[in-house]
C-alpha cells in the first residue's frame, strides 16, 4: 500500500494471521472506506516477520493502529471493533 502524500497515513501492526489481526484489518478497511474518502494509506506490518520493529515503534499491544499523519501521533489498540472509539482516536468524528 502507498504511504505518501495522503491525508491519512496509517500503520497497522499485527502478529501473524490471528483472528484478532484479521478482524482488525477488516474493521480498518471498513472504517477507512466509510470515513476517509480514499485519502488514506494503510501499511500493515507483521511483527512475526519483523520483530525488531516492535521495539523501534514502541509496540506492546497487538493489534495496534498508529496514525502517523496527521500529527500528532495516535495509537489505537484492539481489533477496532468499536468504531466510535476508533473514530475518536483518529479524530475523524468531526468530519463524519
Amino acid at each position: 500500500m502507498e504511504t505518501e502524500a495522503k491525508k491519512w497515513n496509517l500503520r497497522l501492526y499485527v502478529a501473524g494471521q490471528t483472528p484478532k489481526s484479521v478482524t482488525a484489518l477488516a474493521n480498518l478497511k471498513r472504517i477507512c472506506d466509510e470515513h476517509m474518502n480514499g485519502e488514506y494509506s494503510v501499511e500493515v506490518i507483521d511483527l512475526m516477520e519483523n520483530p525488531q520493529l516492535a521495539r523501534r515503534d514502541q509496540i506492546v499491544a497487538i493489534p495496534t493502529l498508529v496514525r502517523e499523519l496527521p500529527s500528532p501521533l495516535k495509537r489505537i489498540i484492539g481489533d477496532l471493533s468499536n468504531t466510535e472509539r476508533v473514530l475518536v482516536g483518529l479524530d475523524v468524528v468531526a468530519r463524519g
Partner: protein, 583 residues
C-alpha cells in the same frame, strides 16, 4: 563465641535447585548460591529501596562474570538513568550492549495517545522480549517495573491473563528473571504480582531510625531452597549492593601461633614475652585520656616497621589530628602513610548506619589486605544502633577479620567509675586479649595504669603497670606497692628516691667496713713485721755468741797443742789426754 554457631548454621548451601549467582556480595551466601535459575524472582520494595539496582547488578554480573547475557526491559526509567546506575557499578552499559552482552529495551507507553477499541493482547511485548532474548542469547531477564503496564492499559482482565502467559513464556525460555515491583498496601506489590511469581520473593526495605537510614533485605519465600528468614542489612554504595550475612563463615578460622609485637617492649613482656597472637582481636578499654590511641599507634608503628600494612579507622579524630598527637609522643606515623603502609579512614559514626561502617571496613580490608586493623574507638559505633545491632555488627566484623588472619585492635571508651563492670557492649567475649587502662588517683594526681585483663592462649602478667606517655613514646613502669596501696606518679618517684637513698647508705656502710678491715689488716701486718725483726735480731745475737764460743775453744786447743809440742808429748798421750780431759 558459642553464639556464632547457631546463627551461621543456615549459611551452608543446600543443593536443591540450580541457582543463578547474583554477584551481590553476601546475597549469594544467604541464599546458598543466588536466585533460582530458569525461574522468575520478584524483588519488591518501596520507592528508592534499590530494587532496580538489585536487578541491574544481577544482570551485569551475569553478563560480565558468569557468561550469561541478559535483557533489561524497563517500563519506567529512561535509559540514561539506567546507564548511570550501571556506571556506578563500574560498567559501561553502552559498551556491554555493543558487545552483545546486554540488550536494553525501554517500553514507553504514552497513555494520552492511546485509545482502546476491542480485543487486544500483549503479543507485541512478547515479540520484543523474545527478539531481545534471541539477539544476545540471554539467560537472564529483568522486567523493571512491569506493574507500570497497569496504568497504561485499562483492561485489567486482559493484563492479568497476559501476565500469567508472560511468566509461562519466560519459564519456557529457561531464563532467570527478576521482576521488580512497587510495594503496595497490605500486600507485597500494588498489583499483587506475587500471585504470579511463586518461586522466589525478595523484599527490600529502607527505613530511617533516629535519622540514620538502614536498608534491609528479607527473603519472603524461596521455593526449593533453604534460606535465612532474617532481615539482612544491606548497603548501596559506589560498588552497588552488598548484603551482610549474619555471619558468613563458621568458626573454622585457623588459629595462628605466630606472635606479633605490640610495639611496646614492656607490654610484650607482660604478654608472655612476645606480644599478641596474629589474627586475634585485642580490646584496649579505658576512660578518657588513658592512652588508648597511643597504644594503638605503637602497634601500628611496629607493624609498619616490619613492612606490613595497617589500616586505621578513626571514628573520633581526624587523621591529621592523630598524626600530630602521636608526633608529640615521638611516633612519626606520617612516614608510614607516605610509604603507603598505613592508611587512615576517618568518618563520623553518625554519618551513616552501622552496616555502612561495617561494609566500608570490609571493603577497605579486602582492598588493602592489611595485617593489622585499628578501630578507634569502637564505642562510638554503639551510639548509632541498638545493643543487638551493634553486637551483631561486631560479631561479623570480628569474624571477618579473623577469617583473614588480620590482627585487630579496638579501642573502647568507658565511663569513669564503671571500670570494673565495663561490659563493653558485651564485646569482651569476642576479644582474645583485653588490655584495660585506668586512672589511678592518689595524692592529688591522676596516673595511668595498665592491666592485662585477659589474653587467651598465653601466660600473661597479672600485674599492673604504670603507663607513661613520654616523648619517646609509651613506656610501662613498675608500680610500687606501699602501705597505702599502689604507688604511681610522684609517689612512685618519691618511693624510688627513698630506695635509692637507702641503697646509697648501705653502700657507704659497706665501704666503711671494708676500709676498717683493710686498716686492721695492715696493722697486723706491721706487727708481724716487727716481731719478725725482733726474732731475726735475736737469731743474730745467738749466732754471734756461738761463733765466739767456737773460736775461743779452738784457741784453747791450739794453745794446748802448742804446750804439748813444747813438752814433746806423743800423739797417743796427746789423744788420750785430749779425750780424757774433762772440760
Amino acid at each position: 563465641m558459642e553464639t556464632v554457631q547457631s546463627s551461621s548454621s543456615f549459611s551452608a548451601p543446600v543443593n536443591g535447585i540450580e541457582k543463578a549467582p547474583t554477584g551481590i556480595s553476601g546475597f549469594d551466601e544467604i541464599t546458598g548460591g543466588g536466585l533460582p535459575a530458569g525461574r522468575p524472582t520478584l524483588v519488591c520494595g518501596g520507592p528508592g529501596c534499590g530494587k532496580t539496582l538489585f536487578a541491574m547488578q544481577f544482570l551485569v554480573a551475569g553478563a560480565t562474570r558468569f557468561g550469561e547475557p541478559g535483557v533489561f526491559m524497563s517500563f519506567e526509567e529512561p535509559s540514561d538513568d539506567l546507564a548511570k546506575n550501571v556506571a556506578s557499578l563500574g560498567f559501561d552499559l553502552n559498551d556491554l550492549i555493543a558487545r552483545g552482552l546486554i540488550s536494553m529495551d525501554t517500553v514507553v507507553i504514552e497513555r494520552s495517545e492511546i485509545e482502546e477499541s476491542g480485543e487486544y493482547d500483549l503479543e507485541g511485548l512478547f515479540l520484543r522480549l523474545d527478539f531481545a532474548i534471541q539477539s544476545v542469547g540471554a539467560k537472564r531477564v529483568v522486567l523493571d517495573t512491569i506493574e507500570s503496564l497497569f496504568s497504561s492499559f485499562s483492561n485489567e482482565a486482559i493484563l492479568r491473563a497476559e501476565l500469567r502467559r508472560l511468566f509461562r513464556f519466560l519459564k519456557e525460555r529457561g531464563v532467570s528473571v527478576v521482576i521488580t515491583g512497587e510495594r503496595g498496601e497490605g500486600q507485597l506489590t500494588r498489583q499483587g504480582l506475587e500471585e504470579y511469581v511463586s518461586d522466589c520473593v525478595i523484599l527490600l526495605d529502607h527505613r530511617v531510625n533516629e535519622q540514620v537510614s538502614t536498608r534491609r533485605l528479607r527473603i519472603v519465600k524461596y521455593r526449593g531452597s533453604s534460606h535465612g528468614t532474617n532481615e539482612y542489612p544491606f548497603i548501596i554504595d559506589r560498588r552497588g549492593l552488598e548484603v551482610l550475612p549474619v555471619t558468613g563463615l563458621d568458626l573454622a578460622h585457623s588459629a595462628s601461633t605466630e606472635r606479633i609485637p605490640s610495639g611496646i617492649p614492656r607490654l610484650d613482656a607482660m604478654l608472655g614475652g612476645q606480644g599478641f597472637f596474629r589474627g586475634t582481636s585485642i580490646l584496649v578499654s579505658g576512660t578518657a585520656g588513658t592512652g588508648k590511641s597511643s597504644i594503638a599507634a605503637h602497634f601500628v608503628d611496629a607493624t609498619c616497621r616490619r613492612g606490613e600494612r595497617a589500616l586505621y579507622f578513626a571514628l573520633e579524630e581526624s587523621p591529621g589530628q592523630i598524626l600530630r598527637n602521636m608526633r608529640s609522643i615521638g611516633l612519626d606515623l606520617n612516614q608510614w602513610v607516605e610509604r603507603g603502609l598505613l592508611q587512615f579512614h576517618a568518618s563520623r559514626p553518625t554519618l551513616f548506619g552501622l552496616e555502612m561502617h561495617l561494609v566500608s571496613i570490609f571493603r577497605w580490608v579486602q582492598e588493602v589486605a592489611p595485617s593489622v586493623v585499628i578501630v578507634d574507638p569502637l564505642s562510638n559505633l554503639s551510639s548509632i544502633g541498638s545493643y543487638n545491632e551493634v553486637m551483631a555488627t561486631l560479631l561479623r566484623l570480628v569474624d571477618f577479620l579473623k577469617a583473614r588472619q588480620v590482627t585487630a585492635l579496638f579501642t573502647s571508651l568507658t565511663a569513669s567509675g564503671d571500670e570494673e563492670n565495663e561490659t563493653h557492649l558485651g564485646v569482651s567475649s569476642l576479644m582474645d586479649t583485653w588490655l584495660s587502662l585506668r586512672n589511678l588517683e592518689s595524692n592529688g594526681e591522676r596516673n595511668r595504669g595498665l592491666y592485662v585483663l585477659k589474653s587467651r592462649g598465653m601466660s600473661h602478667s597479672n600485674q599492673i603497670r604504670e603507663l607513661l606517655l613520654t616523648d619517646r613514646g609509651v613506656e610501662l613502669a613498675d608500680v610500687y606497692l606501699g602501705a597505702e596501696g599502689v604507688l604511681t606518679g610522684s609517689a612512685r618517684i618519691a618511693q624510688k628516691a627513698r630506695e635509692r637513698g637507702a641503697a646509697a647508705a648501705r653502700q657507704e656502710e659497706l665501704a666503711a667496713l671494708q676500709r676498717r678491715l683493710d686498716r686492721r689488716k695492715s696493722a697486723v701486718e706491721a706487727q708481724i713485721q716487727a716481731l719478725r725483726a725482733e726474732v731475726e735480731a735475736e737469731e743474730e745475737e745467738v749466732g754471734k755468741r756461738v761463733r765466739q764460743a767456737l773460736l775461743q775453744e779452738r784457741e784453747e786447743q791450739e794453745g794446748r797443742a802448742a804446750l804439748a809440742t813444747a813438752r814433746q808429748a806423743d800423739s797417743g798421750t796427746l789423744g788420750e789426754g785430749q779425750t780424757a780431759r774433762p772440760e
